[in-house]
Amino acid sequence: MKSRKWMAGLGVASMLMAGVLSGCSSEGASTEGKDGEKTQVTLAGWGGNPTEEKLLKQTIADFEEKNPDIDVKLEVITEQYMDVIKTRLIGGEGPDVFYLDAFEAPALIETGVIEPLDEYVTDEFDVDDFEKPLLEAFISDDQTYGFPKDYSTLALFYNKKMLDEAGVEVPQTWDDFQKAAKTLTKDGKYGFGVAPELARQFWVAQSLGGDVVKDGKANFASDDVVTALKPVIDMHNEDQSAVEPKEVGATWGGEVFGQEKAAMVIEGNWAIPFLADTFPDVEYGTAELPTIDGKKSTMAYSVAYVMNAASEKKKASWKLLSYLTGKEGMETWTSKGYALPTRKSVAEKLGYDQDELRGPLVAGASYATVWSEGTNLPTITNNFNNQFLSAFLGDRPLDDALKEAQKQANSEIDSN
């Protein structure tokens, strides 16, 4: 009788423990290559708007049709994408193929969790077809770790009506731009809706030859950078012709522009569908960014598909990855203009360089600076943004603010 009680207790306890433990165990071993069985490849990314999601599903459906032995499981991570991906990679539960922003790429590649792709690449895949600067953001030590799925550059968006009324031409140079912004500022409306953050100001910061990042360290307090950024601050504090979206109750540049509170904003491709959906009545045009010191420049933001180095289904993963970034897949994915193709041949075929609104964006690709600069860029950006804002709001001089931010950024980099 007694021993039976013992047994019962043991049984209950072990069942509960088994329950707890099984929650943590990983899924079964690799099923790749078995006959008649489908290989399941997981693909993780963040959600886009409904049209974008439809296009991605279309591309995946095409792929599955061509590869009946592979089943693609799409996982949409809606919030805190990088946190979720990092945590899952640490836990050994990472997706086989996933999105990786060029901004985060160097640091993640350095840890060795991303599979180098060179040995998979075939001639047919045609690597040379990619826009070179975009591809380079995912190359480290001569190894390619990802292929960019799309990109966007920055262009000048201007409100046709407001410019006509003020009798202002679309500014070609940085000086013209500042004058135009001043003329356009009246009746509670501003000339320039500006985003006071490094991601958007990087091209301005480097326009006089200064480096924001030097030898992997913050260098944005150097004279060239400070001088280059000064006009942005002056436009806000002296001319009062520039405004941050938050100051007029909007969340980002596209919204300020759509609400016609600012006549000009510097935004990317993403603003075009947004304006068409939310503010269809605004008449606007796009132009290449004004030249600073006679030189053209802009930013390019890109995202690649990368493969998890710990994946057990690498062959199938490569098939998927190469289809998504291949000529056929990319054509489907970028066909509606929500994203710009990183392959020259696809861009030509879809004719975006001829497009009235997207032409200036495509034109920028050849001279754009890619938003990616070594492993420490996230730390540098964080510190820059924090202090740049206080200078922007007029709380302190720009050079002081940036000096302090640089010191802080570099001390963080040194301690890491």
Partner: protein, 298 residues
């Protein structure tokens, strides 16, 4: 030890066996992580791509002393605690006292006052951000009565205060309920006696209500301290995870989050920061108890 017979041994063994699932869960999810954090705080940790742990002794703690952002975070958190805890405690006490005064429609007011507590803090923050908007409700109201308007979300001097107001408004009702329960326990005879002696309402409140509520006040203050020191979600949503504008909404927990998840390879430093916060909370709680001079059970 003589009473520890075979039978007693077996019985206690059985007891532990039945408790084992709970003990196991406790060990795995509570005790284990605490020791793991202590372990991490003495190491330089890289978790991605083949975990590596290098013993660095007290380097992580020494780094806190050099880290301006850690100091800003600590200072912000401190300001926040010092202002929010007394405000929410006093507000809760006043709300509870008015609700207990026996006026008409008391239960309706009780429900209305308690409503903010039911909203999740994330939703609450989003609603407040909308109201704090440059063209939002609060600025419109300020404008209507001729007061200056503020850029609550973008101005470093105001952003933290905006979070404070929001949090006092949302947590005070919870403590109000605790006060209400305690108020019911104060015997009416005391008030009757005071009335006979000619005490005014305010005198009754100060001389009877407040002293009798002292143990509860102490509880409310300690819970408030712990809660406010751990401020994270509001400032996270408010600043989009950055602690901006200009580090003004950076709190210790937000900084810990940034080091643990946003940077790679700084998990050890994040663990050291979190231990420091634990020590700060412990000390603050001890000081609070010393001042409240109350033998209590918590």
């Amino acid at each position: 030890m003589k009473s520890l017979s075979r039978r007693a041994l077996r019985e206690s063994g059985q007891g532990y066996l039945f408790m084992s699932p709970a003990l196991f869960v406790l060990l795995l999810f509570i005790i284990g992580p605490i020791f793991y954090v202590i372990f991490l705080s003495f190491h330089k940790v890289q978790l991605l791509g083949g975990a590596s742990y290098d013993f660095v002794a007290f380097d992580n703690f020494a780094r806190i002393l050099d880290d301006t952002r850690a100091q800003i975070a600590l200072w912000n958190t401190f300001k926040y605690v010092v202002i929010v805890v007394p405000c929410q405690t006093i507000l809760a006490l006043i709300l509870a006292a008015t609700l207990n005064a026996g006026m008409k429609g008391q239960s309706v007011f009780r429900i209305i006052y308690f409503l903010p507590t039911l909203t999740s803090s994330a939703v609450l923050t989003l609603i407040f951000m909308w109201m704090y908007n440059k063209n939002g409700l609060i600025n419109n109201m300020l404008d209507a009565i001729g007061l200056p308007t503020y850029n609550f979300l973008g101005d470093p001097d105001i952003a933290l205060n905006a979070i404070m107001i929001m949090n006092i408004w949302s947590t005070a009702p919870f403590f109000m309920v605790i006060y209400l329960a305690a108020l019911q326990d104060i015997p009416d005879s005391l008030y009757e006696a005071a009335e006979l002696d000619g005490a005014s309402t305010i005198q009754k409140f100060m001389k009877i209500t407040v002293p009798h509520l002292r143990p509860v006040t102490s509880f409310v203050a300690i819970m408030g301290l712990i809660g406010t020191f751990q401020l994270f979600d509001q400032s996270y949503i408010f600043s989009g995870g950055s602690g901006g504008p200009d580090n003004s909404t950076l709190t210790v927990v937000l900084l810990v989050y940034q080091y643990a998840f946003k940077n790679l390879g700084t998990m050890g430093y994040a663990a050291a920061l979190v231990l420091m916060l634990a020590i700060v909370i412990l000390v603050a709680t001890l000081i609070q108890r010393k001042f409240s001079k109350e033998e209590s059970l918590y």
